[in-house]
Point group: C2
């Protein structure tokens, strides 16, 4: 199953709104074929593996991290391909929560006499598809908040400098994150201060969908984000004036403080097939997502320095000690000269959280 | 040698101004006896081990992390005891930088025909006695700055609450630090805000010397620190008024901002036999030690929460990005719900740094 998960990960950032899936076909302890879902619209992992079989699959076992589908979507049902293959046993990591499947795939295989085991390495399988599971359950993308900070939590100096807080390895890891997420989001403050490209600068990388939260449409006509990668989506309030920005302008409700309604923002992105978003600041945007209870994970890249001034990665009014938002430390690691801290926010609903 | 270092560590926080030393006597691969220096004034490790020999040490080898002394101090020279013992070979971790020894111990043993190897596991031996080496070289104590902070570097909420930022395991680790350091230091701001006891609340623990930096002698007569453990040392400016505080009052030079001259503070503590100090805040005191270049190591206990307001662990005026103090990540570890980050500051002069 761990091999199937590794195969599945090769599709990371390419499969949404589909899940990542890998499949391994084994007989008598020998791997006969492997497959994975490369990109939405392409073959599913099970069919990919079956297509690579040199001879018959009769009597073999397939390991697959997610329940095979049993409906016609962009491709025919995987269950049909399995039944035609002669495969005798299927080991499934977890049930697919898609209402068209949700146990029906397993049921169909069993009805036709196949042996099916479900729940092998399920925690790892859930973690793999945390974004897909979050989307299936909450009808919104999985939200990862990312910041490069100092040991006193600053994302820029008092003079406004933020390039660079962290070292080259941490910055590269930021691009690795962008490469695996469906969209990357910044607020207009960060856009105006830093003029970020929001593209993925990594060999073999692909660009995430750039998204700007910009209540008043302050985004300049020559902002780098408009031309550096994919055509951005710019969310604004209903009365913002569009001066012909080269972007998809989406108007959503604003609150009394002219802040965009984030549930609407995420809902729109979900409807576009976006299952994971990386929020890259600034502090006020992070605060808004935290206040709205819409953060699933936090990735902090911590540089071992102090600035003793400047904005911190969570802005807004101070919390009291007893109502300060608290997180769960998932892991820490040293990354070049810096530290990466991964934090979980929610309680187990989304993936392995 | 690693066994000798482990033995030595049992004296941590008790041996200053002496170093920590452990000794193991071995013959034909069998450990004959072990010893260590328990507390200043007591037997040295070499003699402690020799005293525990059941029979003769003739032909045996002693492993000891620091060069044996060859002078009369509080106890007679260890070299004499070694020469009388019949030990044939001595393996030494590192030369003792004490000017009365500094190679003379090794020389004396060799002159009397013993085989002596020097520099075995030297890096570990230097790290063990980082405080002793710092004191020997700089004539000042080894300075460790410690703070319990949030992910945005706060040591208290905007309302002033700091109890508790971190969880029970991190707080216990703070007492473990106090148990191994010779003195624990706070500024008057922290004293007035938190009224800390500064004692060691740990089974079998011993109290470090409490030290207060208090330019204007604002320490209240009923401050807990005055009665919770050992009699404190309170440093103040030359014109501060002493109202009969139950403490040793030491007057030092102040600068134009009424801040105490920290070199004088550390020099006084060094003269009292203090080889290591733990600075426990607040942010202004940390800043002063950093500005003075007097920090050797930093221990941060980071709680996975944010406060979005309140004082940070390094106070004072903001730095620019290109002159922000930078540190070296020594290690990170998860400690209960929190993260411990150990940072090195200086360049190799003190111990293993």
């Amino acid at each position: 199953m761990m091999a199937a998960i590794s195969l599945a990960k090769q599709g990371e950032g390419r499969t949404a709104p589909n899940p990542m899936v890998g499949a391994v076909i084994v007989r008598d302890g020998t791997v006969l074929a492997e497959g994975w879902h490369r990109i939405v619209g392409d073959k599913h992992a099970e069919v990919d593996a079956l297509d690579r079989l040199d001879d018959s699959g009769v009597g073999a076992t397939m390991y697959v991290n997610l329940e095979p589908c049993c409906h016609f979507g962009l491709t025919p049902p995987c269950t049909d391909a399995l039944l035609a293959s002669g495969i005798r046993r299927v080991v499934v990591g977890m049930i697919d929560p898609d209402p068209r499947i949700r146990g029906n795939g397993v049921e169909k295989l069993r009805q036709h006499g196949l042996e099916v085991d479900v729940g092998v390495a399920e925690a790892e399988c859930r973690e793999l598809n945390a974004a897909y599971l979050c989307a299936a359950r909450h009808k919104r993308p999985f939200v990862v908040l990312k910041a490069a900070v100092t040991l006193d939590g600053r994302i820029a100096s008092a003079a406004g400098d933020s390039q660079w807080i962290t070292g080259p390895l941490a910055r590269q890891e930021g691009h690795v994150l962008r490469n695996t997420m469906d969209a990357v989001v910044v607020g207009s403050g960060t856009l105006l201060a830093d003029d970020p490209s929001l593209n993925t600068r990594l060999p073999g990388g692909r660009n995430a969908l750039p998204v700007v939260l910009d209540s008043h449409l302050r985004c300049p006509q020559d902002a780098k984000v408009l031309t550096a990668g994919r055509r951005p989506v710019v969310f604004c309030g209903s009365d913002a004036v569009d001066r012909g920005l080269q972007a998809d302008i989406v108007r959503v409700t604003t609150n009394s403080k002219a802040q965009l309604e984030l549930n609407e923002v995420l809902s729109h992105l979900y409807d576009r097939g976006i299952h994971s978003v990386l929020i890259e600041g600034g502090g006020q945007v992070h605060r808004s997502f935290l206040d709205a209870g819409l953060v699933d994970r936090i990735e902090l890249f911590v540089a071992p320095k102090v600035l003793a001034g400047g904005p911190t990665w969570v802005g807004g009014t101070p919390f009291d000690l007893d109502n300060a938002p608290g997180f769960r430390v998932v892991k820490t690691r040293v990354l070049g000269e810096d530290i990466q801290v991964t934090l979980g926010v929610f309680d187990g609903e989304c993936g392995a959280e």
